[in-house]
């Protein structure tokens, strides 16, 4: 009897004490800074700019350096890339007449950007691909037919050179089959140079 009454009092005390302590914990949350990110319109920086380097967003093609080799089209496991590259009979040059990527189908596996010899097709940090119809989700990169890029020993064209340099850097850092260097290594290489 005595012990059960002690338990009874103990229960009352425990209830009051634990509720008191719990209320103190939640009260302390009243003055803590909320951790909500108010995407999309009230973020301090664009979310795209905060994404990691190897983020696989919507694909983009630099037609200036696309060789028309169709390696990406062949690599794509779900055939979401369609390229038409006929040879012009007169100038004997390859013309790019169509380069479509259906981002509704694309599964962002990155297999297309790995075999690309120039880094023309690459992922961007963009991810806001929502649209109102399936048709409008097909990205058409060729507005009017352009000549395919011919690789040279040294690129001298002032317009194409920076694009090519960026593409090759992308290949090196991102799209090499073994996954490229770890993020720490480029810094070391820079400091060594």
């Amino acid at each position: 009897m005595a012990t059960s009454f002690a338990t009874y009092l103990r229960n009352i005390f425990d209830t009051a004490a634990t509720v008191f302590e719990g209320m103190a914990v939640t009260c302390s949350h009243f003055v803590r800074r909320p951790s909500t990110v108010q995407y999309p319109d009230r973020t301090a920086v664009r979310v795209q700019d905060t994404l990691p380097f190897r983020y696989r967003g919507i694909l983009e093609v630099d037609l200036e350096i696309c060789t028309g080799c169709l390696a990406c089209e062949r690599a794509c496991p779900i055939d979401c890339i369609v390229i038409d590259a006929p040879k012009d009979k007169q100038t004997r040059q390859m013309l790019l007449t169509r380069f479509d990527i259906d981002i509704a189908k694309c599964m962002y596996c990155g297999l297309c950007s790995e075999p690309c010899p120039t880094g023309a097709i690459h992922h961007t940090p963009e991810f806001e691909g929502a649209d109102f119809s399936l048709e409008s989700m097909v990205r058409r990169y060729v507005k009017e037919p352009v000549a395919a890029y011919k690789p040279k020993k040294v690129e001298t064209d002032p317009v194409v050179a920076p694009i090519l340099e960026r593409g090759m850097r992308y290949l090196e850092e991102f799209a090499s089959p073994d996954g490229g260097p770890t993020p720490a290594e480029p810094d070391e290489a820079e400091s060594a140079a």
Binding site: A24, H29, R32
Partner: protein
């Protein structure tokens, strides 16, 4: 209120209209003013504030897009619900199903007849005021049971039955915790109980003696349970019963249940403030002008009551829901015996010191403030330990 109308009739404001007609119009006018001017708005704004309070406790922001800081969110929600289609299940009892929300709303709104706003602002200063409030708020259980039964749905029925069991059980400790105050003041009138207290914490009945201090917390717990609030929200436990007795409701009738649920918070707080926290008492020296004085009294009462509302939101964000057997054992094994002991203790106390024991009153107040100080010490402890970034502003 009646005195006011009698005065106007004597002045001949209404010509030769019969007094009963004037009274009837007066009742409707007062009801309309109280409901549209106060109850609806308070219940609505409470839903918004509750969401913001929870959000901050959970490190979120909460609704902040509709209007400045999201203050119009409750209007948007209300309009949305009013525009929605009302679905009545084919197997339901349509008459009872339609009637239930109004019974619930009536039981809740009727409490505002006796809830004072200031020394002059009260719909009717009933001489049985606090008993009347206890009685009419129990009417809510009839509506809830009606809703649960008429929905013809197992979840609704279980929710309704749980609500009935819970409210009927917790009426007892609630009533037993009101008795000590009635013993002290010798009146059931809400205004009379407030007049027996003073503006300062050391003349509130909360600190009158140790028994009333305990009675306050028992009444608080019991009223939480009667209002179906967490940790006693078993009748509408989302994880078990979908939404309990409101499962089948939609549109405007659903809105009525929500109005009652959130409006009830204010009623619960108002009862506690009236009985234990000095009601609308303000230091008399502040103003002699009747309008200014009543305004100050109204603001005091509202501030105290709304602090109670925020306390209940805070509890909801803190405590988990208890089991049905725990609910019953809490009531019958703990609250009822302790409330009885309080009642007897206060009776003896009043017999020994009919006018209260001043030193004990001061001592209890000091103890209360010491407890509050310790609470904030613990809050500071948790803040320091977490090392979290602070944001003191309630806005985002």
């Amino acid at each position: 209120m009646q005195d006011f109308l009698d005065g106007l009739i004597e002045q001949g404001t209404f010509g030769h209209a019969p007094a009963q007609v004037v009274y009837a119009i007066g009742i409707v006018a007062v009801a309309a003013i109280v409901i549209f001017g106060f109850v609806l708005n308070v219940a609505g704004v409470t839903t918004f504030i509750e969401r913001r309070v929870w959000a901050r406790i959970q490190s979120r922001i909460g609704p902040n897009r509709v209007g400045p800081q999201g203050i119009l969110q409750w209007l948007a929600d209300g309009i949305k619900l009013l525009m929605k289609e009302e679905v009545i299940p084919a197997q339901a009892d349509p008459r009872l199903f339609k009637l239930a929300p109004y019974v619930v709303t009536m039981g809740f709104v009727a409490a505002f007849v006796a809830i004072p706003f200031s020394s002059a602002l009260v719909a009717a200063d009933l001489n049985v005021g606090i008993l009347y409030i206890t009685a009419v708020t129990s009417l809510v259980v009839v509506g809830i049971l009606m809703a649960g039964w008429a929905s013809n749905n197992k979840w609704s029925l279980i929710g309704g039955i749980r609500a009935a069991a819970q409210i009927v059980s917790y009426e007892i400790p609630a009533a037993l915790s009101i008795f000590p105050i009635v013993l002290i003041t010798g009146t059931l009138s809400t205004q009379g109980i407030i007049r027996a207290q003073g503006w300062a914490p050391w003349s509130w009945f909360l600190f009158y003696n140790p028994f009333t201090f305990v009675a306050f917390w028992i009444l608080f717990t019991a009223l939480l349970a009667e209002g179906n609030r967490t940790p006693f929200d078993l009748p509408e436990a989302e994880s078990e019963l979908v939404a309990g007795f409101v499962t089948e409701y939609s549109g405007a009738r659903y809105l009525f249940f929500f109005l009652v649920e959130w409006g009830n918070l204010y009623v619960i707080s108002a009862v506690l403030v009236t009985l234990f926290l000095g009601g609308w008492q303000v230091p008399f020296a502040l103003s002699d002008h009747p309008v200014v004085r009543n305004l100050l009294q109204f603001l005091t009462f509202f501030a105290k009551a709304y602090f109670g509302v925020i306390l209940m939101m805070w509890i909801r964000a803190t405590l988990p829901r208890i089991r049905v057997d725990q609910l019953m054992s809490t009531c019958w094994k703990y609250l009822v015996p302790i409330a009885f002991a309080n009642f007897v203790g206060t009776a003896v106390w009043v017999a020994i010191w009919p006018n209260g024991n001043r030193p004990v009153w001061y001592l209890m107040t000091a103890g209360g403030f010491a407890l509050l100080g310790y609470f904030f010490y613990r809050v500071g402890f948790h803040l320091r330990r977490s090392g979290a970034q602070l944001l003191l502003s309630p806005f985002s």
